[in-house]
Symmetry: C2
Subunit: 222 residues, 2 copies
Amino acid sequence: MNVLVIGAHGSVGNLVVDKLQENSQHTPIAMVRKKEQQESFQNQGVKTVLANLEDSIDTLVQAASGADAIVFAAGSGGSTGADKTMFVDLDGAVKSVEAAKKANIDQFVIVSAMGSQQWLEPHPEWLEKLGPYYPAKFYADQWLKNSGLNYTIVRPGLLSDDEAKGKIQVADTPDAFGDQTDITRSDVAQIVVESLANEHTKKKEFDVVNGDTKISEALDQL
Amino acid sequence: MNVLVIGAHGSVGNLVVDKLQENSQHTPIAMVRKKEQQESFQNQGVKTVLANLEDSIDTLVQAASGADAIVFAAGSGGSTGADKTMFVDLDGAVKSVEAAKKANIDQFVIVSAMGSQQWLEPHPEWLEKLGPYYPAKFYADQWLKNSGLNYTIVRPGLLSDDEAKGKIQVADTPDAFGDQTDITRSDVAQIVVESLANEHTKKKEFDVVNGDTKISEALDQL
């Protein structure tokens, strides 16, 4: 499967690209904004495409040309302003979904954020702490769910750079996890990659943190 | 009809309240954030309710208690940050729609912005000029359209404080208007009020600027 990774230069996206590159079933296409980022991927033998999420949908359709699936792992991050939260985390995701539809790419995996599905419901206080980030993720995920695409919405807990554990727990809400709040970026990337080839993840959404179940088994049980 | 006006202290919202108050068919309920605003309406004999769009949906349901229709005329304005664009123009509108559904209020009129429906399409450059404002309006309107409510989406052009003209032109896109780009706030408020009692405006959306057709006639032709 040829997989366009949007946000390939980000911390999770980069790991997704690595894992796709190591996997004989898949070929990553790293979508990046800057020439320098492009060169760094090319030096590792990774296909790249230069495009900006703030460009038009048609630009993204072109970027997605030849892809069989899209992974959306982009995020504006904490150091940019709230306008970028709108333009990248929400609008960038929506435009990527629309580009997938236009390019007849049926499969779309998005890296979301634990608990964001509770945005419009009574929710824990920490959901208010990142300003417009959680609503942006919520509205993006809603758009994807209404798109008709074969979506997988992965909502990881607090991301850590620890070594991969290989074991996770999944649930519909964060309450199910008790004191466990985090997950390694490497495990998130592994979940994304395995979701591409696992039928049980189609049209599914889940919160996920590290736990006691092997990733493949946890995904099989979705 | 009892009409909850959200954003009653804003420039258009205030005029909507005035016109509802003058109209024997309607009773406005001015929703405002601050005590001072509340007192100023009470001194004019206008019913008020104190609530903040950044509060929960349930708070808004309470605020809407007894209303037969909701007018959403709130806007974060140009002097606040992009986080408020997310929280007021987008999230505030979405929560108001959800509150309407919960409170069994079927009719919802929103003051949107000319051209915002073109956000995901090729669009004129000026749609990029207000940062996250146009996408916020776009996503809010999309949510309303998908809500099942009897919506009217009024997308006025550039707002002016000139005296009411009483005559407008409506269209599906701003291109239809040629050089005419503006409309008085008073005429926008009049359109909102007339929409409440005009069956032709149900499940309709339109761009509008001043023109040659009487407001009631223009709405009858929707």
